[in-house]
Amino acid sequence: MAKIMTVDDSVSLRKLVAQTLAGAGHDVAEAANGADALSTAKQKTFDLIISDLNMPGMDGLSFVRQLRQLAAYRTVPVLILTTEMDPAKKKEAKEAGATGWLVKPFDPSQLLATIRKVLD
């Protein structure tokens, strides 16, 4: 099963994602913001990263940008999990290097289906 990191400043949402993934047998790490996530990413390797956009400290976009600078993460899929995705934000996220997006409200089966697709 895959190694996945979920990044969200909201503990409840992060746990919701993490526990859904863990329930599907994935190995899950959590980070509360971009800076945490970046340092975790440097210490371990992940097959997939799921990140919120709106976070205090380092937000999702700068996190993805900096992550893509790391050689080990040039092609690792990064999914954006966010409440809203207006086209401008989508464009910005893509330009930062995001692979795709999932729109909240969070739906466990949709999340797992998307992850299956990406990790296929």
């Binding site: 409440t83 809203e84 909240k104 409200p105 739906d107 466990p108 089966s109 949709q110």
Partner: protein, 164 residues
């Protein structure tokens, strides 16, 4: 997608073609609880009685530094009680009530088995309880060789434990 869509909670269903029950015997009857709720199974150790507690709450015990209440299922179901001893079994369960989770031990007569029950084999319990007291059963599993009463632990222990 609109962000106002209510969460579709039925989505977890697809994995639950069958459920695993931990089954046990109380007063000659086989009962079951969702195995995911079971934290551990232990023998009897005398609990510290709690003042002003309902009669079926026998007290609290120490489980690895956690203070956990122990309930007698026979007494909760209105069955005659048995003396506790070496053969008494305590199932430690996670119980939900009022948006929080509690851990509690439930005294049963004896352990039985772990049984896989196909979702289709579970029938709603007949409602011969009067409506004021909700049925303690979540359903009855009708298997070829036997029937298992599936307890709704949240209903029987989730709310009543709250003392204010």
């Amino acid at each position: 997608m609109s962000e106002l869509n209510p969460m579709t909670s039925g989505t977890a269903k697809n994995a639950a073609e069958s459920e695993q029950l931990l089954t046990f015997i109380v007063d000659g009857q086989e009962y079951g609880v969702d195995i995911l709720r079971v934290q551990e199974i232990r023998g009897w150790s005398a609990p510290m009685p709690i003042p002003q507690a309902p009669a079926y709450i026998k007290g609290v015990i120490n489980i690895r530094g956690d203070v956990v209440p122990i309930a007698d299922l026979r007494e909760r179901l209105g069955l005659p009680t048995l003396p506790y001893g070496q053969t008494t079994v305590v199932i430690v369960l996670r119980v939900l009530g009022g948006a929080r989770e509690r851990v509690m031990g439930v005294i049963v007569d004896a352990m039985s088995d772990v049984t896989n029950v196909p979702t289709g084999a579970v029938k709603a319990p007949p409602s011969f309880h009067d409506s004021s007291e909700p049925s303690p059963a979540r359903g009855i599993a009708m298997l070829e060789e036997k029937m298992i009463t599936i307890l709704d632990v949240d209903r029987i222990f989730g709310e009543h434990v709250v003392i204010r």
